[in-house]
């Protein structure tokens, strides 16, 4: 009952005309950048972070959440019509979606993706609504030692468990923690890793790192790649109706629900990641379908399920972000830094101190989902036009915005050079198959982990055993060790 009355108050905030406008701008921008290959929500939110100096927190966060949800919708349009996934989480959608489009069923594929996204996004948002308070109540029992252990667990899962290689994931994480440590240590006032450069005393802005890795890095990668220039990827035209047939509906609704059921819990776990649930959903649908012969040639279940899983897990990621202050994706980490720039710390206290902000944000997600359904179905033709922007102009534009996002906040060429350095690092990380999300997560979460570690050590008067004698902290650390070494041990046991 309490939750519902909070949610009602939230709608009171989210339905204010200005906040509706921010949500609308957010979902529109989000869809556009989701559609454009090479642009993602993490990058876009990073570019817009300086807005936090200008607008109030509720408005900014509604905008950012709209971008986040919108990108998930827009990404599917690209995967279906272009076969170049706009978002890493929509790779699976292109497997069946693009085949459907090639067979003249683009409309049906877009429809099941959009409606599935809506269904899953709404289920996911309901999940946030009702899961947030239990998680908050749980989190209220957490002390600094427990928080530190939770962060360690999350470090391990985002970098070592989800990627293709634990070593490369942890390397990326360590680089992120290193970058996050640059500057004045705010507990002792000592400068760390600044190499005597005055500009580094305030630390490196996460905008510079995110935009460098995602925008400049991607552009460099493609510019140096010969094959990126002679792509004759044709945008497939939507010829059939956007109304799904009766058969399409009956084949779609179960995958939507199953996809949501797979996506939300995985997203909500302190591991995050939207790719794994989409793959899981794809293989589930492939197993359960009555039309196995269609898989690989455009089976609608293979679009409906993964799209739902993708959106539900995107919603799930917001649970640890809001209730624990624990970001488990690059986008969530950048949203967390948006909170930080208002001196707001997401976590259990936030629900008590700023209910109108949290619940307004959650309510705006329901509204955003409705807006997105309208934006992405009847107006799909608009987004197809965006897909036709020639690559030279697209990447020229991306770099102009990258310049604004960095030089535009500090007017410092040092930041511009740092941006380029991050871009070159991003190039090599992409070339040598290192994940980039752990860099951002490490950069944002590293300082928080250190802060909690120090607080815990102060409380325990310097006794390290505090992390092992507290039950919550000890079990979380045990889980982290298991997640790190478990797969390897399991493999050795099976062999031996």
């Amino acid at each position: 009952m309490n939750t519902l009355s909070h949610l009602m108050n939230g709608f009171g905030v989210a339905l204010q005309p200005m906040n509706l406008l921010w949500a609308f701008v957010g979902v529109t921008v989000g869809t556009a950048i989701g559609v454009l290959p090479g642009l993602g929500p993490a990058l876009t939110i990073a570019l817009l972070l300086p807005l936090t100096y200008k607008v109030d927190p509720t408005a900014a966060l509604i905008l950012f959440a709209g971008i986040y949800y919108g990108a998930m919708y827009g990404g599917s349009t690209t995967s279906i019509l272009l076969n170049t996934p706009g978002e890493s989480a929509t790779i699976v959608t292109s497997l069946e979606g693009n085949k459907m489009a090639k067979k003249g069923r683009a409309g049906a594929a877009l429809a099941t993706a959009a409606i599935g996204s809506f269904v899953a996004g709404t289920i996911g948002t309901i999940g946030i609504t009702f899961l947030a308070e239990p998680v908050v109540n749980l989190a209220l029992m957490f002390g600094p030692a427990d928080y530190f252990a939770l962060m360690v667990l999350s470090f391990v899962t985002v970098s070592a468990v989800l990627g293709s290689s634990a070593v490369r994931g942890l390397t990326a994480l360590a680089i992120g923690i290193f970058l996050g440590m640059i500057g004045i240590d705010n507990q002792t006032g000592q400068a760390r890793f600044t190499f005597g450069v005055t500009e580094l005393f305030d630390g490196i802005n996460v905008i510079v790192v995110a935009v460098g890795l995602f925008a400049v890095g991607e552009t460099l990668y493609l510019a140096f790649q010969k094959s990126s220039k002679n792509q004759d990827d044709e945008v497939i035209e939507v010829k059939d109706s956007l109304w799904m047939s009766k058969e399409d509906w009956s084949r779609s609704w179960k995958p939507w629900l199953r996809g949501s059921a797979i996506g939300f819990p995985i997203g909500a776990m302190p591991a995050g990641g939207a790719e794994i649930p989409t793959f899981l959903s794809y293989y589930t649908e492939k197993k359960l379908t009555k039309y196995p012969e269609e898989f690989g040639h455009g089976a609608i279940e293979g679009v409906a399920g993964p799209e739902a899983a993708n959106n539900a897990s995107a919603a799930g990621v917001l649970v640890p972000m809001l209730a624990l202050g624990l970001p488990t994706s690059a986008t969530a980490a950048i949203m967390l830094s948006a909170f930080q720039s208002y001196n707001i710390n997401p976590g259990p206290q936030l629900f008590a101190t700023k209910p109108e902000l949290v619940w307004g944000l959650i309510a705006s997600l329901y509204i955003g989902n409705v807006m997105l359904l309208v934006l992405n179905l009847p107006l799909v033709g608009l987004w197809v036009k965006i897909l036709r922007i020639p690559t030279p102009l697209l990447y020229g534009g991306i770099l102009v915005f990258a310049t604004i996002g960095t030089y535009g906040i500090s007017r410092s060429v040092v930041d511009l050079l740092l941006l380029y350095a991050m871009g070159i690092m991003g190039f090599f990380m992409r070339r040598y198959d290192f994940p980039t999300a752990p860099v951002i997560i490490g950069m944002i979460l590293g300082p928080l982990a250190e802060q909690n570690f120090r607080q815990a050590m102060t409380i325990s008067q310097g006794d390290m055993m505090t992390f092992l004698t507290k039950p919550i902290s000890a079990s979380l650390l045990a889980l982290a060790v298991l997640a790190l070494f478990g797969p390897k041990l399991w493999g050795m046991m099976r062999k031996g």
Partner: protein, 165 residues
């Protein structure tokens, strides 16, 4: 799993590119360790500013050594290598554009500098339509400047064109 199988069937040997990256990670870790020794100790806190700095440096060095081990036993990047042929011309046009932008932005201002960056980038991606790219680049930089600086309150600074508006 599949990675291990692929590694087993691949010819074992030194992967030069991978080794370069691996050694780079070790070097960054060593630099971090050296910088950690430069952090003044603090007597007031239970955990000083050095503890996490040491831990991070150690993590970088250890991960780097694991990568070195991977690189000398065949490397990893061939598994996912979809890069193909290198386009030096495109890449150098882009690097040139970035350098021009960094060199000129303080002098001629964001709008003109970004127009140049836009032109160089478009050229890097194979466009030869100089007039179209100049017009679009200028308009985009102009609109972006007005939108972000004047409306949204970013501080992009002044320049040759900026002074006139």
């Amino acid at each position: 799993m599949s990675g291990e199988q692929a590694a087993a069937s691949a010819p074992r040997g030194l992967a030069k590119g991978d080794l370069g990256i691996a050694v780079g990670v070790v070097v960054v870790g060593l630099i971090a360790a050296w910088q950690t020794t430069e952090i003044p100790q603090s007597a007031y806190a239970a955990v000083g500013p050095r503890a996490f700095a040491w831990a991070t440096s150690a993590m970088l060095v250890v991960m780097g050594l694991f990568l070195v081990k991977d690189a000398v036993t065949g490397g990893w990047s061939y598994e996912t290598d979809d890069f193909g042929e290198i386009d030096w011309q495109g890449g150098l046009w882009l690097l040139g554009g970035l350098a021009v932008n960094a060199a000129l932005i303080d002098v001629i201002g964001f709008i003109l500098s970004s127009t140049l960056l836009f032109l160089f980038t478009a050229r890097a991606f194979g466009s030869t339509q100089l007039v179209r790219d100049t017009v679009i680049g200028f308009l985009l930089a102009f609109v972006a400047y007005v939108g972000f600086d004047r409306v949204l309150g970013y501080k992009i600074g002044s320049g040759l064109i900026e002074r006139l508006i």
